[in-house]
Symmetry: C4
Subunit: 229 residues, 4 copies
């Protein structure tokens, strides 16, 4: 029953090295079947070069493995927490992509500086607070999901389809695994450009909010007119 989702999650995982977003095994994509609540996710530490569709792992909302011969990604609890918090999400991706991770290490949000950003993210991309000693000592991966939700607050997660976890790296999401990966690619490009822009003009202010709204709604929502829809 989950064969189709397994194929899509596998393909989405394979897109990470193809897009230059991962070194070694530093990334994972999951997808959820909202009817059953089951989640398909990459196995932990398996190299992309040898991974096959049969290596995908199926877990339930409690993280119990229902199908698969491998342990799921060590970040599984983060994914599950996000799926529980945000029913809009169909896919989640975590990477250590170079530029987005550099911002996460610097613990600063990525300001909205131009239309490339505004086409996908409806404002500055937030960075979480650092996790506390207790959170790291406890259910660390689940707490990572909680601090992401805390940081997003009332924001529609599809209007802010990615975030930086302080001292760690980016998580992105979307209505599907494919969209989540798409947004992870965008985030990496935006992170690189915002870094360069910031060194070119240290007194730079964020983009005009009316331009940001124009570009976001040009691509998203009822009045979108970008593309063939």
């Amino acid at each position: 029953m989950l064969e189709q989702l397994k194929q899509r999650v596998f393909d989405a995982n394979m897109a990470l090295p193809a897009r230059g977003l991962v070194t070694f095994t530093w990334g994972n994509v999951s997808g959820i079947d909202r009817k059953t609540g089951l989640v398909v996710i990459k196995p932990s530490g398996v190299e992309y070069e040898v991974m096959t569709i049969d290596d995908m792992v199926v877990v339930n909302a409690q993280g119990e493995v229902l199908d698969g011969h491998f342990k799921p990604s060590s970040d599984t609890a983060t994914h599950l927490e996000l799926y529980a918090q945000f029913p809009e999400l169909g896919g989640i991706v975590h990477t250590h992509s170079t530029y987005a991770t550099s911002w996460a290490q610097a613990s600063v949000p990525i300001p909205a500086l131009g239309t490339t950003h505004a086409d996908y993210f409806a404002g500055a991309i937030p960075c979480t607070r650092p996790l506390s000693r207790e959170e790291v000592a406890g259910q660390y991966e689940m707490e990572t999901g909680k601090v992401i939700a805390e940081t997003l607050g009332e924001t529609d997660p599809l209007h802010m389809p990615g975030i930086l976890v302080s001292q760690h790296g980016p998580f992105c999401w979307g209505e599907s695994p494919e969209q989540a990966v798409h947004n992870a690619v965008v985030l990496e490009v935006i992170a690189k450009m915002a870094w360069i822009s910031g060194t070119l003009n240290r007194q730079m202010s964020p983009m005009d909010s009316y331009l940001l709204n124009k570009h976001f709604t040009r691509k998203h929502g009822p009045d979108a007119y970008y593309g063939q829809k």
Copy 2:
């Protein structure tokens, strides 16, 4: 009748990903047939991997689609405004290429720092003012073309074959679609080098104007002696 122009515009569009200037669908090239005033342009939001020559769209000066099964690029009105303002132009390209877009986000012109720049651009590459709230709320894409023309002013567009739109990204042009793409590649290289030069020497001044003129006229105009002409 426009088959040849369609082929050239298609090839010029395909050169964008090959040259590393676009991510996903973030770029478009057009070409104009000055006898008929018809413009061939990329369809909106179609991925380069699957695009064929038959997907090109033909529009007239009013933006009406005369041929093609897709909607034209959402930036079509910007192209049309530039063709109307500058009869010298035969091709136009818009991208979100990383380095040029970073300068556009920083809202600063690219100073002329060396002969690579001077071989193509006869002075600093300008950055437009930000569009006003009214311009963005109105015919946004056409206003983008107008602010480009306003910024160029009396400058010969073939002496300044590219510009930065503030908070957005670069537009380039030339006597043909091929030249427009060529200039977009050059702009991206120049933007990268000017960024690096600026971090190496923060008190740097622009290049000597007599060296700039020498190099520009070595490649352009009646006294050019670069190449085989």
Copy 3:
């Protein structure tokens, strides 16, 4: 008897250009057979494009060539000194990889800024003091090994599997040649990200030590739970 080690050392050397860590011949990998104390290492100045497994050189702990038709790497004495000092090591790699070398040239340690770093290095990656005039005039390559050992001090070399040699470049190691190369790739990624993070936030402090310990022990030691073990 050493055929298997030769093959592994050859493969590990060939991984350096494949991973983008070397220009021309600027890198070398060795492996040691702890039973016999013999070391297999890349020949000096031989280009990767033409190198074969038969070009590998076998030396003893005194650096005498026991097998091979080429001179061993000019850095052989550094490798031998490290093998003598640290019985845990099974493989060593030296490169002039761009980002790690840039930190070595700047003579500053790489601070631990995020979990990518913490997954492999249990603290800031140290940079040696400069070698003295006497050390450079004497047995230079052996002294390079000595200053690395001096800098590591009591640190477990498998908890700090790489170091920067001031004004020179990185050395990495591991329990095997493959692990040494793996760590060299990681060091290069970390070096790039730490550089970018530092330009994004000049008041940045190192990551929380409890997060660093969490991630290091998640992947290493008796309580590791990353991967399939």
Copy 4:
């Protein structure tokens, strides 16, 4: 008679795009036959993708074309001036490679910061003064050669096999066209690393001179012991 040199100069030119040193036609390599004084050089403005060995141009010391159906590189007079000034040279290369050109645009020498630099360049890589208005208005390309020679002064050109021309870009050389290209690759790597190092440590001082001398003489001169010679 010059067929062998033509082949070598052609191959050396083709190495420029393969090594990522040129965009479009922005580079050229020449080689000299010291017995006859004839120079083989790339034709002006011909694209690498279509260039063949038969397109190489043979000129004499006065720049007169003795063989070839194309005009020689517009930089030919610079090459000829350098061959006249420095009898040690067998090959010369000019590029607009990104990082070296960025230093040339910033008009600052590249300090010697590490052993990668010292393995090839026996000190800081100088940057020429800007050419005067008169020099640019006169025999510009020949004056470029003269200012390079003026800047080198008494320095052995094989100990400093490259230089930055202010507001322009790098020229490199060697005993052969192949060595000249090799040095151009090295210069580009060094230029990138020195840029990064400088942003990591703004109070950085050049490397110790005894380490610089050690590495240069390890690879060059009678006491060299790097490689298989």
